[in-house]
């Protein structure tokens, strides 16, 4: 039974609260980009992807690559809430001997399909998994979540060409287009616009959505599944720091310690 739109919104809120608690507890971590991706991850793990938390290694599961690996708190919260491991583990994030390393490590965390760290690398991995699926005549799909600042990395565009050239229609990449990176706005630092046109000229099927509207993201995932011969890019317009007003669109909240006081204020906004 799939969750109702209201239930999905509540799950996304719980993930955001978890993110803040984890980062308060660990004393470090990437807040802004995690909050911006919370609705996308909710859509993927609660309907968009075919997965089974009881069998994280199930051969026919859809795969997920968190190319914007710094949003690991949001992914860990989603995995825990989805039942891959005990929610209590979230409090060990970034601590010594934790299964939840700073960046996703497939050898430690159930539900992680690929170890990732540096931005710019995930789409290539996604393509490799998708190529293997085609060779093995598997029907699972491969999802990849990227940041927009990440698209400054040349490797992203190498991978964009590869996916299109090989007609990887089992690839669905989602770009968390929050217009912000670490130091400020993508458009001020090195402009990415027109980003949608870039993907189109790279021969991708592009779907534009509101990245905080879970219904729209789910619809985009379904549409991507019907596209033949081309990979799909879901261009998800988002707000960095979404859900916590004083963090929204503030690049300083890319990677910053949360104090007790601000934590309380943030949790109030997410109650």
């Amino acid at each position: 039974m799939s969750p109702t739109p209201n239930e999905l919104r509540d799950i996304a809120k719980i993930i955001r609260r978890d993110v803040l608690t984890m980062i308060l507890e660990s004393g470090s971590g990437h807040v802004g980009g995690s909050l911006s991706a919370a609705d996308i991850l909710t859509a993927l793990y609660w309907g968009g992807m075919r997965v089974n938390p009881e069998m994280p290694q199930w051969e026919d599961r859809d795969r997920f690559v968190l190319s914007k690996a710094h949003a690991s708190p949001a992914l860990y919260a989603a995995l825990a809430r989805r039942g891959y491991f005990d929610v209590k583990e979230l409090m060990t994030f970034r601590k010594h001997k934790s299964m939840l390393q700073g960046f996703p490590d497939m050898q430690r965390t159930p539900g992680i399909d690929a170890s990732v760290g540096s931005p710019g690398q995930g789409l290539s991995i996604t393509n490799g998994i998708a190529m293997a699926a085609k060779r093995d005549e598997k029907t699972f799909r491969v999802y990849c979540l990227m940041g927009d600042g990440e698209a400054h990395e040349g490797q992203v565009w190498e991978a964009a060409m590869t996916a299109a050239h090989h007609g990887l229609d089992n690839v669905c990449a989602i770009m968390d287009r929050n217009m912000m990176m670490g130091d400020g706005s993508t458009e001020d630092i090195v402009a990415l616009s027109p980003l949608v046109d870039k993907w189109r000229t790279f021969n991708w099927h592009v779907i534009e959505v509101d990245g905080h509207n879970i219904d729209q993201i789910l619809a985009a995932c379904s549409e991507a599944g019907t596209v033949k011969g081309r990979p799909t890019l879901v261009h998800a317009r988002t707000v960095k720091g979404k859900g916590v007003p004083f963090m929204e669109n503030k690049p300083e909240w890319h990677d910053r310690k949360v104090t007790e006081e601000l934590y309380e204020e943030a949790m109030k906004a997410l109650s």
């Binding site: 290539s124 293997a132 190498e158």
Partner: protein, 338 residues
Amino acid sequence: MAEMGLVDINHSVVETEATNRGYERGLIELAERGVDIIVMDADLAGSSGTGEFRKCFPDRFLDIGLCEQDMMGTAAGLALSGKCIFITTHGMLAAGKAWDIIRSTICYGSLNVNICGADAGLSSGAAGGSRQSLEDVAVMRTLPGMTVIVPVDAVEAKKATMAAARIPGPVYVRFAAARVPIVTTDLTPFTVGQAAVYRQGDDATILACGVMVYEALKAARQLEDEGLGVRVVNCHTIKPLDHAIVNRAAVETGALVTAEEGSTIGGLGGAVAEALAQTVRPTPIRIVGIEDRFGESGKHEQLLQYFGLTARDIASAVREVMARKRGRQSETGSMARG
């Protein structure tokens, strides 16, 4: 050392072949045996040794274009799905261009990706310094879980290729485009991680890899005429280093020379020095290699001479470490007397 099945380099005409060719034969045999391999190349199939494989197994060949970074990441994805990957490009591109991706996706995930540096060392000759990869062994060796192999000749190159396919984690294998002497045969034992003693001797040991094993054997022969018994070890696996053989050489012969066709910083010489400095008593070592500089254009044999990588250079390095060993012996002798 009949049991080693070596070519008698003193009495027969020594044949030569590029080790790239041995790599290619290994790939073809793996595919023929039904191993689920995929060979990736970045627009260098013509020179790197994968051209023939491409003809024989087009479905198992993937040319990714001039996208070395994407090649490493795509390889990681394919390996995550159980494929056995062989990546080929110029040594310095294979080891250097996408080092972060090799590190953060392939090694961090302990994936079965075999990275093959073709045209490595000085073997691209005429192309000169920008192309010649002298640092590849050093930068690959620092990566956790990475196995590093430098085969001695085309025969061993094939064996190393077949062996790499069976190693579950990442492997870097270095090949040469230039023709290099064939010193081993199909009968010569080869096990990853186990160095092989090719010649016995108790006065000093030469630990060599790649083409330098041939030069080391010639050097040992020259030194024999001077009455010295020099041990020669093929250290084809730089990582994991065969500590047992290295330690035994240090204890039994007391003077070591390492020889490699690469930088003297961080390669075989570095590995041996690190190992010995921390284990048995310090042993005089001389690292023969290219000293902190780029290569340059020329024929491969010419360059080996120019950079001091010949039997003659190795022989004088042996004399030097032996002198240090004797100096130390008389020093400790006089200390004992005094």
